[in-house]
Amino acid sequence: MLKISNLTKTYKGGKKAVDNLSLEICSGDIYGFIGHNGAGKTTTIKCVTGILEFSEGDIWVGGKSIKSDPIECKKMIAYIPDNPDLYENMTGIQYLNFIADIFSISSTERQATIKQYSDLLELTSSLGDLISSYSHGMKQKLAIISALIHKPKLYVMDEPFVGLDPMAAHTFKEIMKEQCKNGSAIFFSTHVLEVAEKMCNKIAIIKDGKLIASGETAAVKGNSSLEQLFLELNDNE
């Protein structure tokens, strides 16, 4: 579903934020992306979603290159950023409707999806209010619902649990599992190693832009906990 081949992203000034990174995510995978602050997680995610251009390598989504066919790739992707800076001047429902329009979702279909997930995340009653009146968690919930509207094949999420209350975090995990059962793939970054350990069938650890470990979670961590492995890898490198 997602193939990153030798991705290198160099910022102005010459710093390599991502250095020759390669990984592959298949349908049904929940793939955790772990690394310390500034390791290159967000840059990788922004390259995958077509937000950032990159100098070397390529990214393939459903067999299509984000470089040469960005629109088709983006149609298959849903992106949830770490800090949901949404259009504050819109109401929640106006924002969701805007996203549905962009993805050309029919009126009945968008209504059903919005109702289903906003009820699940307990946001329906607030959808008529301005986004600027929302709390961080509510904005995060709205970003999640907007990501689900077009039933994407690939979810790319940057710290998606930040700001969610325990109930919403649980509901969201259930939604993620359900989406994967239906054939979608999930690629998300997190600092919460417990979540990655419990939820992800595959993980990748990034340090200073380079991938230092990746593969099946069980195989990567072996007998130690993910936390131990993460600390060891960061110390050793």
Binding site: S125, D129, S133
Partner: protein, 532 residues
């Protein structure tokens, strides 16, 4: 006091992008900053030169009338009105609902220190304008009266204090509007209507003052004296400079400082509460799912842009004012006749040249309605949304251009209809004005968005930094001036007789320019957007 300096420094670093120039290792950034610096210095030189050119003949007339001190009046009244207008424009965005409000209020700072830092920042930007607008008439006065070192020392001291009272008055109006609008659901609308009324009132007042620069100087003396009586502190200023009077100088400085200080003390008491009220958003939390309308991606992007435009007080105020002025101009011609409008605006309206002059006024107003010059920058931290959407970049850019066209094209049609009826124009003339203006309606936003793509400013704490002070907006205004000046110069130099032929030739140049700019937009523009 230390906190105040720290806050002012933070404001300057944050808003003027100094760090970006100093710290950036990229050569392109430094070149961009250098070019912008040259443009700003050039603009300041042009304004200063223009002020000299306006005030020198005025000085000659006043010398004959033995009323040279009116040059000092002209200086203080023009800087006061200018600073007042600028303050009404800027202050609401600086003092209310500013982005760093939560951050600053969470710090151990007195609200008065936060308020003072914001006001001093406004003062600094006004001071530059005061120097450019106010100093030329004073230098001419100095030349005519052989003013010595003492006179110029007095000029330097008083200049530093001139903006204090106008910005305090501007802030008072903004405070009053803020208080009223915080009680309404549509705070922006109330602020906008209030600001437009105030702004138009000041414009009307300034056209009266503007007559001191004409041959009817003598008739204007009572008006100027009356204004000096109302704005009582200006009399202290005139007294200080006219006779190099130290007592008047001290009185002017003290009055200005007391005015500013009292405003800070009084306003700081309500500063926190009014900002808290304005930050409280209307919440109904009673939404029930209903049928949702479906739009095409381009329409959805356009609606999103339009909603954003009308939600931003400073954006609307800064870009739609020219459209309103265009309509006032046309209605003025229809109601009062061309001679009255020509006299007020000081533009020649000879019967033969009526169509190019009207076209010029229209395209001048359209040029100042460039919403696109700030539209990319205003995406700010939400830029990721449009960048992640599966839509062509061209559609994103055109949705922003369409918002500009929504403002200008209907206004243009209405205004052409008004002037066509007023002057009983023939079909060819109407068509000529319409085609030229319409082509310029298209050219202006395309140019604006291209400039913004080259000079984006995505990190900002208040929209006013993008809408009023960003490089791209300044360059778009400069570009509008250049585009308007070239045909005017050609028309004057070539002494053309056939105005419709001239408008036809101008429209062909505009058409070719539009085709080239669209091509650039679809290639370089798209590339630049990807790089953001």
């Amino acid at each position: 006091m230390n906190n105040l300096f720290t806050l002012i420094k933070a404001n300057i670093l944050n808003s003027w992008g100094i760090n970006k120039v100093i710290k950036s290792k990229a050569r392109g950034e430094k070149i961009k900053a250098g070019l912008l610096g040259i443009v700003i210095v050039y603009a300041f030189c042009i304004v200063t030169f223009t002020m000299f050119m306006i005030n020198y003949p005025l000085g000659q007339v006043l010398e004959k009338l033995n009323a040279l001190e009116l040059l000092i009046s002209s200086s203080i009244l023009s800087t006061t009105l200018f600073a007042l207008m600028m303050s009404i424009y800027k202050i609401p965005s600086y003092l209310f609902s500013f982005k760093d409000y939560d951050l600053l209020m969470s710090l151990p700072l007195k609200p008065s220190a936060v308020l003072a830092s914001k006001m001093i920042f406004i003062y600094l930007s006004n001071l530059l304008v005061t120097i450019v607008v106010g100093i030329p008439p004073l230098i001419i006065y100095g030349m005519k009266t052989s003013g010595g070192v003492l006179y110029y020392t007095f000029v330097a001291i008083t200049t530093l204090f001139i903006p204090l009272i106008p910005i305090s008055i501007g802030a008072f109006f903004a405070y009053f509007l803020g208080r009223v609008s915080s009680k309404f659901r549509s705070t922006n609308l109330v602020m906008l209507i209030g600001s437009f009324i105030l702004f138009i009132s000041i414009m009307v007042a300034s056209t009266t003052v503007g007559q001191i620069n004409t041959v009817q100087v003598q008739n204007s003396i009572p008006t100027v004296t009356a204004l000096n009586d109302i704005l009582f502190w200006t009399k202290l200023y005139i007294g200080a400079l006219k006779n190099n009077n130290v007592l008047y100088l001290i009185a002017f400085v003290l009055v200005s400082m007391i005015f500013f200080g009292v405003f800070i003390v009084v306003f700081s008491k309500g500063f926190k509460s009014i900002n808290s009220k304005l930050s409280e958003k209307y919440k109904a939390s009673n939404y029930k799912m209903k049928r949702l309308t479906v739009s095409t991606p381009l329409k959805a992007l356009y609606i999103k842009e339009l909603k954003f435009y009308f939600s931003s007080y400073i954006y609307v105020l800064n870009t739609s004012f020219s459209v309103i002025m265009m309509t006032i101009f046309s209605i003025g011609i229809a109601v009062f006749g061309k001679d009255a409008v020509s006299k007020v605006l000081e533009i020649p309206m000879a019967e033969t040249y009526i169509s190019p002059i009207i076209t010029l006024v229209f395209i001048f107003c359209i040029g100042f309605t460039s919403t696109t010059a700030a539209s990319i920058s205003l995406e700010g931290k939400s830029l990721w949304i449009i960048k992640a959407l599966p839509v062509k970049i061209e559609s994103i850019l055109w949705s922003k251009i369409l918002v500009n066209l929504t403002l200008t094209v209907p206004a243009l049609i209405i205004n052409i209809a008004i002037v066509a009826l007023a002057f009983k124009m023939d079909a060819v003339t109407i068509l000529a004005i319409f085609v030229v203006s319409l082509l310029y309606c298209l050219l202006s936003p395309i140019l604006g968005i291209l400039i913004n793509l080259y000079f984006p400013k995505l990190e900002w704490t208040t929209q006013v930094v993008v809408v009023k002070q960003s490089a791209s907006v300044l360059l778009a205004i400069l570009a509008a001036f250049v585009i308007i000046s070239i045909p005017v110069l050609l028309f004057v130099l070539l002494k053309l007789e056939n105005v419709n032929l001239f408008l036809g030739a101008f429209s062909i140049i505009l058409l070719i320019s539009n085709v080239i700019l669209i091509k650039i937009l679809n290639t370089t523009g798209v590339k630049k957007f990807k790089e953001l």
